[in-house]
């Protein structure tokens, strides 16, 4: 199936296609419409920033894009393939080979070194230990944390943990990078470093979707989408 997805990548299908997606949490009085009918299309090689106030449904949308969650109604096509049709095994492959996901709350594995955390996606991809280590170290080096490879998450600052999460998402060189506030805990210098990496990746025709609250970060993307109460309020190309 991966080959099917990979093959389609060479065609001109949009990388992501979200059609009338709704996500409803809870029942009765407590019902929350986290997404109230969102439609959008992202082409391969695009660089999209999503902004919006807290609780506007950004993370909810991102989780669906990352195949971590499913919409209540509506369709989500990844490289033209309806994700709801994929088996558990195929989903595991998609998450592993195609997508790099950076969580808003890092989600590093506790009591496990930064290096082992970054190696993990490669391990599941079947990469040999020596090769795995080399690539994980290179990825950590890229985010400026080569000297913290042996540290466990609780020995790292918030910003360092966030950069480990970035390194882990980048280590498989995914075609699609989904980042939920990847610079939320970073100072301006580290933010600049991470954004530089994103720019480079995008220059290699990789698709990037990121969520941010910072206008400068949003301005770096090619396209800016604003969410409001679970709906797309505006969607425009940034002037370069």
């Amino acid at each position: 199936m991966t080959t099917a997805v990979m093959n389609r990548m060479t065609e001109t299908k949009p990388a992501l296609e979200v059609q009338q997606v709704r996500k409803v949490y809870g029942e009765g009085e407590a019902t929350v419409h986290a997404l109230a009918g969102v439609s959008l299309t992202v082409d391969r090689g695009d660089y999209v920033a999503i902004m919006g106030s807290s609780g506007s449904g950004k993370s909810t949308l991102m989780n669906i894009l990352g195949c971590l969650d499913i919409p209540s109604t509506g369709r989500y096509l990844l490289d033209g393939v309806d994700v709801s049709r994929l088996s558990d095994k195929q989903l595991a492959l998609v998450r592993n080979r195609l997508i790099g996901f950076i969580f808003q709350s890092f989600n590093l594995i506790p009591r496990t070194t930064a290096l082992a955390n970054v190696e993990l996606p490669l391990a599941y991809a079947g990469v040999k230990p020596a090769e795995r280590r080399k690539r994980a170290l290179a990825s950590l080096d890229m985010v400026g944390l080569a000297d913290r490879a042996g540290h466990e998450p609780n020995q790292l600052s918030g910003g360092q943990q966030q950069r480990v999460a970035v390194a882990r998402a980048l280590v498989t060189e995914p075609a699609l990078l989904l980042a939920d506030e990847p610079t939320g805990n970073l100072d301006s210098r580290s933010t600049e470093d991470v954004l530089k990496i994103f720019d480079d990746l995008n220059a290699q025709n990789r698709t990037i979707v990121l969520i941010t609250h910072e206008a400068e970060v949003g301005a770096r993307a090619k396209r800016l989408i604003r969410l409001f109460d679970g709906q797309v309020r505006s969607d425009e190309r940034n002037k370069r």
Binding site: G66, L68, D69, I70, N96, P110, R111, T112, L120, Y124
Partner: protein, 398 residues
């Protein structure tokens, strides 16, 4: 991902959380060791009791007088003992030994020894009570008939009085009379508190002359022809005794009859009850150990579920996650269980509350099986449930 790599992950998982792993293993260890050891103690004591009682002689019946200072015509006498030797009325009786028992101080070459039992009896007594000779010979029927002052002594007496000297042929003084030691009894395992090696046995007539007097007998020891004839012999004896002592129908008999196989039966029953009781205690400790393991495993479900969520989000297939977590549970429960067996085996080499434990192999299998099953189930089940959740639900699990 190869199985070996998953196994390496599992080992890392176990060692990443040392305290939790140690506690889980400790729970299993204690449960397994307790079950094996307690059952072994029960089994050991049952075996000890059986061997003690069979050392007493399972064919013997003891008749004792319950007459407390009443009329002397209901006490046991040598005539009554002779009456029991009746091939027609009592065909199942092999031998009858009248017994008088006295206590006294034995002296040899300036050394004193307070003896707990100085027994006067016939030659059949030694056989009936399963005594064997270590050195020298037993006294003979001729010795009994002529009231010769000869005696055989138990190991304890031999050690106390004749340190480094061969007692055979030496003369000891007891109650002012001289007895010649003709033999030493072989060591016999003691039943109960009394030391069954602290005694001297001499011809009935000699003891009556010197120590006990010609009054009533202490008891009569009867040997049945075979173990399965004990009850028959007992009934025959009772009939003769009732006749002799003129016990009316329904009246209380002035004597009591005990047989070793009865004793064996009740004792074995007691020992069995003991084993069952210990087994129950052991079962409870296994259960408590199991609950402990369950508790530790469940407490970590939240953390582990989140971890499984992360792993799934990074693209781990369900099979890999399950294999890893089952391998972790197996490592923990097998290591804990194995150590438990080891400790039980080591512990069983020492006496516990005076009992030499004897390990029952099935208890090892049971204890190990149950604890590994508990470990696997409570390690595997939450993992399998978490692995089938959507990553985001696993990540949000609380």
């Amino acid at each position: 991902m190869s199985f070996w790599e998953i196994l390496k992950f599992a080992v890392k998982g176990v060692s990443a959380n040392k305290l939790r792993s140690a506690l889980t293993m400790l729970g299993i260890l204690i449960g397994v060791a307790a079950v094996i050891l307690l059952v072994a103690v029960g089994n050991g004591s049952a075996q000890a009791i059986t061997s003690q009682i069979s050392a007493l002689g399972t064919n013997t019946i003891t008749v004792m007088s319950t007459n407390r200072g009443g009329t002397t015509n209901t006490s046991l006498t040598t005539e009554i003992a002779d009456a029991l030797k009746d091939p027609t009325l009592a065909p199942d009786v092999k031998s009858v030994s009248p017994v008088v028992s006295a206590s006294g101080t034995l002296t040899y070459d300036g050394t004193d020894h307070e003896i707990s039992q100085f027994i006067g009896t016939g030659t059949s007594y030694l056989g009936a009570q399963s005594y064997r000779m270590d050195r020298g010979v037993a006294f003979t029927d001729a010795d009994v008939a002529q009231g010769r002052r000869v005696t055989v002594i138990g190991q304890t007496v031999a050690e106390e009085l004749f340190e480094g000297v061969d007692p055979v042929g030496k003369q000891v003084t007891v109650g002012g009379a001289l007895f010649t030691v003709v033999g030493v009894l072989a060591e016999k395992s003691s039943s109960g508190v009394q030391d069954s090696n602290d005694l001297a046995i001499a011809p009935l007539t000699a003891v009556q002359q010197t120590l006990a007097g010609y009054g009533s007998l202490s008891s009569i020891v009867v040997e049945a022809t075979a173990a399965d004839r004990v009850t028959a012999a007992q009934n025959e004896i009772a009939t003769i005794l009732d006749q002799r002592l003129k016990v009316e129908d329904g009246g209380t008999a002035p004597y009591r009859i005990q047989n070793a196989s009865q004793l064996l039966e009740t004792q074995t029953e007691t020992a069995d009850t003991f084993t069952v009781l210990l087994g129950a205690v052991a079962g409870i400790s296994l259960l408590v150990g199991g609950i402990g393991i369950t508790n530790i495993m469940l407490v970590t479900v939240t953390e582990r579920t989140r971890e499984i969520g992360i792993r799934k989000a990074l693209g781990a297939p369900r099979r890999v996650i399950l294999t890893q977590f089952l391998a972790e549970a197996t490592i923990l429960s097998l290591t804990g269980g194995g150590l438990g067996v080891l400790i039980a085996v080591l512990g069983a080499r020492f006496e516990i509350v005076g009992v030499q434990p004897v390990i029952v192999p099935s208890s090892v299998v049971l204890a190990l099986g149950v604890s590994v099953a508990i470990g696997l189930f409570f390690g595997g089940y939450p993992a399998s449930r978490a692995a089938s959740l959507r990553p985001i639900d696993a990540l949000r699990y609380e």
